[in-house]
Amino acid sequence: MTGDPRAAVEALAACEAVHLVGVRHHSPALAAAMPSLLEAAAPEVLAIELPAEARGWLHWLTEPDAIAPLALAFDGPRGLAFYPFADFSPELAALRWARSARVPVACIDLPLADAGSSESEAREAQPRWRRALAARARAEEFDGDETWDRLVEAPAPGSTPEAVRRAALAHGWAGREAVGEIDGHTLRREAWMRACLAALGGRRAVAVVGAFHAPVLSGAGSDPFAAGDLRGWAPLDWEDPVGDDDRAGCLVPYTFAQLDSRSGYPAGIRDPEWQQAVVEADGDPAAIRSAATRMVTRVVRELRRGGHPAGPAEAAETVRVALDLAALRGLAAPSRREILEAVSSVLGQGALSGRSRALAGALETVLVGARAGRVATGTPRSPLRETLQAELRAARLPAEGRHAVSLAPLREPDLTKHVLLRRLEVGGIAYGERESVARTRGAEAVLERWQVAWTAATDASIELSAVKGLTAEQLATTSLLTRPLDDVDAHARLLADAADCGLPDVAAHALDAARALPATCGFGDAVRLGVLLDDVARARLPGATLLADDLRARAGELEGEFTSAALRELQGIRGSDDEADAVALGSFVAMAGHLELGLEHALREVLEDGSPLMQGGAAGLVGALGARVASWLDLPEHRVLRRRLVGLLLVAGWELDSSPAMVALVERVAEIDDEEFVRVLPSLRGGFEVLGAARRRALLTELGHRYGQSAGALVLPPEETLAVVAHDRSARERLAALGLGPAQGAVAPVVGTAVAEGASSEGVRVYPVPERWRLILAQERESLSPAGERLGNCLDGLYGRPETDALDGSGRGAGDGPAALGVREWAAEIEAVFGQAALQEILGEAAAAGRGEVLELLDPARVRPSVDLLTTALLLAGSLSEARLARLRPLVRRLVAQLAEQLAVRLRPALTGLASARPTRRAVGPLDLAATIRRNLRHVVLLDGRPQVVPAAPVFRQPQAKASDWHLIVVVDVSGSMSSSVVFSALTAAVLTGVPQLDVTFLAFNTQVMDLTGHVDDPLSLLLEVSIGGGTDIAGAMHVARSRVRVPSRTLCVLVSDFEEYAAVGELLGEVDAMHAAGVHLMGCAALDDSGDGAYNVGVAQQLAGVGMRVAAVTPLDLARWVGRVIRGEH
């Protein structure tokens, strides 16, 4: 039949043996045409492409009080078979007609219970037909739904039912010709259908079948089925009583939301509400046109409700474009595509703004609809409960009572149990509960424990799940496919669940859905998903072993994309001081090994201008940087060194053999002299605190190896130590006698009172290398020299006593000194041991660590104002009682005053001359000649025979000082990690309040929004009001900010945040877009501090830039300059 398509379709349409109606499962055109088609054909029997199992349900399906949409579900050897029916399903229309006309119905599709298989048929594919379809429909190739919509549905209004039937048959014929291989199951179904049709004998039959199958049902074939094989095909006579015998499957009410193909439920169609409108129009173009008008109007109303300007004028224009497009394309009425094109063209306003998201939401509300079906009274209930109990029994899990189950899920038979339990869990069946799961990357889950119990809750949850399927696998599949995916967490959970439940379809869906994520996700998320994908690819999740290799390979490929995304986001975390980011950096580099080049570049950038923490991390990852790491010890800033160390240790680990940077560090510690060592000791100890006590002990042991002593030998018994020291001493004396200095790293005399002696004798170290490491690592303090112990005690005051085992005598022995030190004594001690310079450092550190009392020690008059110190003080302010706060207040007041003054000095130049010329008729400035001529064109007189312009009203330029009234809205994120930005925001806002033209509103938000405008001229009280912490709801804050806008074009809005939006990003984009559309000047500050580098989500920032908010990490000076530029009108 590959000859002339016209002739082939003609032959199909005219087929004598059986009258063929080729359909698509949802097709308003054919559903509308169906009664007339059947009326005209006047069949004696209606053959319909439904499996034999459906026979018992036809009555319930067509009951007059049943309201579509309804769905028939069966369980077969091939999984869930799902047949949703709506008013626009041609099959339902045909069945309803048959019932009313009392025409018997034969279900001619292969029974679902059939487990037989047939050979697939290899044929020569004729892709030209597919291309022809695609070209005529102007659709993508392989998009069968779209070609059907264009070639069958769109031209249907105004056509005869017969023309619609032929269009459908032609589409089916061409689609079939284009396919190369037809799978065995399809062939087997078609053979069965042919056999059934043949068995109908000479009765005049109409076959309502998929258009794809129609071409092969007309003739006879070499069929594997004899009439005797056929089961359940016998036509149902409507007069027969409704039998209750072994009815499989179930009939459930359905909704339009589930019917929409984007909902994830199977066998749906796009935009059911629109399809319903078309079928109700019953093929009348005028009715469809008015339905289109109705729908467009509703879309416009929805859009307006979302806060976007759109009115009747736009609605009218949209309808006009839709109707004219239909006319241009030769259609009698607009189809779905014309409406969508018109809507996006007139209402969309460009593809990328927040408005188009709002539009998509409005379209969804209107075109998907909310219609819900209802089954007829008396319809039998779902057999899901029995099925699930059978599944539990098969997996040897208890179906009653409460039990605890231990599983080793990586191997059979426990793998089956694990997967079943997970599927039930995911499918929403209250049965098993998993106890805490401890899994780390790279380590496989070996054992897990479940509490399982079949309770009343289980039965209730089964009732609610009937619509999702008939087996645990189907339940899980449907639940997962219909899960909303609004944030990265949801994606990660979906992927993990799909893989762990061993559901290939869902896993494929999850992978597809995650494809879009690399464009927007932040660094941490990209790394997390990358690691998860790696787990799936390597089947570290138990259920993932059930996934096919190619699916796992796809997960591996997608991992690569997340790696690239993480690489992009690296610049966003450059300025981060969050240890989680440093750890993520480490796992990222482990997974991104193949990107060596871009990675190296990115890491070097971090190393150049990252925060100390990230620099440390990067240094651990870039090779050959030993010298640089060692040189950090020589730099003056203590805090920087400490954070760098933390980064280095977190990322590169502490093992000497795997981290060259550590080796360099160890060497440098051995080289520096005592004074230098004491200077850096607080930072070193602080840095190494990040390792737990056990790891520090292990490191000390390893260092022991390095310095030529056996493990544990750094702790020698006293008598041996004495011997060693005596030996060393005599050796040194001999060396000295020979005129040679003591060798480097020699063990110095550290016993008893030898300290003073050692310190005084030139070149000999008070703190030899092993002692240095004991101090740095805060281990083996019982072996410290008295001088060392004094240092250690001071630092213990800061970092706390290392946990000592109470059974250990030495630990008990060391329990006297430091904890008893009062704050004042402690401070004096620090000053004595480390010097005045380190005092502030250590006290600040202690304050940050929660020792508020030390702040009271600081003398407001003497202290050097720094934002760090202020931040520390403010962090404490929340936790102090009012009495103690009162003591703190002078300090904070002074800090704030000094910092604000410093800032104001720098900002003022950027804000001066906030004035521009505006035309005026008062003679205050230079003459505006062009404006003068224009203004006076009416005053033209004839002078000396020539017309002359008389400047009766000269126009001047007036400097615009103080004439304007600008409104600055500062919106500050006070969720964790933003503390120094908050301080700078408050100070900057205070300085800007002093500018006469500016009216400042100050909003602080985490998940709530606080209006602190009343405090804005007093940064001290403002800062004391703010408590830092909590999550982030930027969209909510921007919503409040939008409500404060008075004159949009004279409003500046500054958002200070890390842009890690907790809620959906779309809403934030919508808010920002709306403000921008109104004309507000927007600036996003990724961080506001003196260094101008911050940690933020680059993906979200880029999207915000797309809707008109410039985002960058800026300094207060930059911000002031921007404010100045905008007000001066220079931007």
Partner: protein, 356 residues
């Protein structure tokens, strides 16, 4: 007609336009062709003009047929301006009533200006009025074009609001003088998504436009064919006779598409540079490679020139883009080279040209 470096479409396709003008059928007021003939002209004809979605062109034509203003938005180099010229030429016979938007564009260029010499000499009169292309289009019932409308300052753009809603321009300096738009007047504007973007436009103005997003060419074969055709034309116009090396064009376009979409042909991830890699730029590069091959014998092997040109195209705003190109080399090109494809092996060998 005298020689022109770039003849406008109404000259270039004069014959085709004349033939289509004879097609029967109703026309919107002031139109030379029927709407379907306009679509046929833009998308079809003996020489392909606009390679892209026909539905898009249909929507544009329907928008203009309703006398509503059309705004074409898209990445740079997606033939927005060409589309607007073709539409204008087909609808009213001229594409020359155009204003080029820039930060320096003033309201005068969208409304009207004055001949100040005449104004001072003879006083205000209609003669002293200098109509803008927009005003001219209103008076003649033709299509006005505003290129890069978003580069104009928002206040200047807003001068169009009254033109588009009331369809008239008042000239208060001349008393009660008002210019009314003749039927057939409409406006096509283009805007670039990469510059200031449409979000800078006022909501009032946005409401008066129908937006069409012009995407980059979706079909690789069509893009390669287009670039090859344009390269051939460039070589011919330069008076050279050498044939165009199609392998070079194909390789170049493939690299452009990979870098533009962020996914290679094979589905591998590619780090996307921040620069826009438009078809227009591919045409320019392909043309200069072909010309240097034609005029300098030592540059006959076009493949050798690709890395340098690509680097020049990619590294514009962001210094990191060079590293991104290098990582494209290290991932995609290396894998293709390892798969043994000759051209890509050659390119892989040229990696050192990209080293900073």
């Amino acid at each position: 007609m005298s020689e022109m470096q770039v003849p406008p479409p109404e000259v270039l396709y004069a014959d085709e336009l004349a033939r289509l003008a004879t097609e029967p059928g109703p026309r919107p007021p002031g139109w030379r062709l029927t709407p379907s003939a306009v679509v046929k002209f833009v998308c079809g004809g003996p020489r392909p003009k606009f390679v892209g979605d026909v539905s898009l062109v249909e929507r544009c034509v329907i928008t203009l047929a309703g006398e509503r203003a059309l705004l074409l938005v898209g990445e740079p180099g997606t033939a927005k301006s060409m589309l607007s010229e073709l539409l204008a030429a087909a609808i009213c016979g001229t594409s020359e009533l155009a204003v080029q938007g820039s930060a320096g564009t003033t309201e005068d260029q969208l409304r009207y200006g004055w001949n100040y010499a005449q104004l001072l000499a003879k006083g205000p009169s209609a003669d002293a009025l200098v109509p803008s292309p927009v005003m001219a289009a209103m008076q003649q019932g033709r299509v006005a074009r505003v290129e890069e409308i978003t580069r104009c300052l928002p206040e200047v753009q807003d001068a169009l609001v009254s033109v588009l809603s009331e369809r008239r321009l008042a000239v208060p300096e001349l008393g009660d003088h008002t210019v009314h738009a003749v039927p057939g007047f409409c406006l096509i504007a283009t805007a670039n998504l990469r510059d200031r973007g449409v979000s800078e436009m006022s909501a009032a103005l946005k409401r008066r436009f129908n937006f069409e997003h012009v995407p980059p060419i979706a079909d690789p074969a069509a893009e390669i064919a287009l670039v090859t055709e344009r390269t051939r034309r460039a070589v011919r116009d330069a008076g050279a006779t050498t044939p165009v090396d199609e392998v070079v064009v194909e390789t170049l376009v493939t690299a452009f598409r990979d870098l533009r979409s962020g996914v290679s042909q094979e589905g591998w991830a590619v780090e996307r540079p921040s620069t826009v890699l438009s078809t227009a730029e591919a045409v320019a590069i392909s043309g200069s490679i072909a010309l240097s091959a034609a005029f300098f014998p030592h540059a006959a092997d076009g493949i050798r020139q690709i890395p340098g040109h690509l680097l020049g195209a990619v590294r514009k705003d962001d210094a990191d883009d060079g590293a991104r190109l290098l990582s494209y080399w290290d991932t995609v090109i290396r894998r293709r080279a390892e798969a043994g494809q000759h051209t890509w092996r050659q390119l892989w060998a040229l990696r050192d040209q990209l080293e900073p």
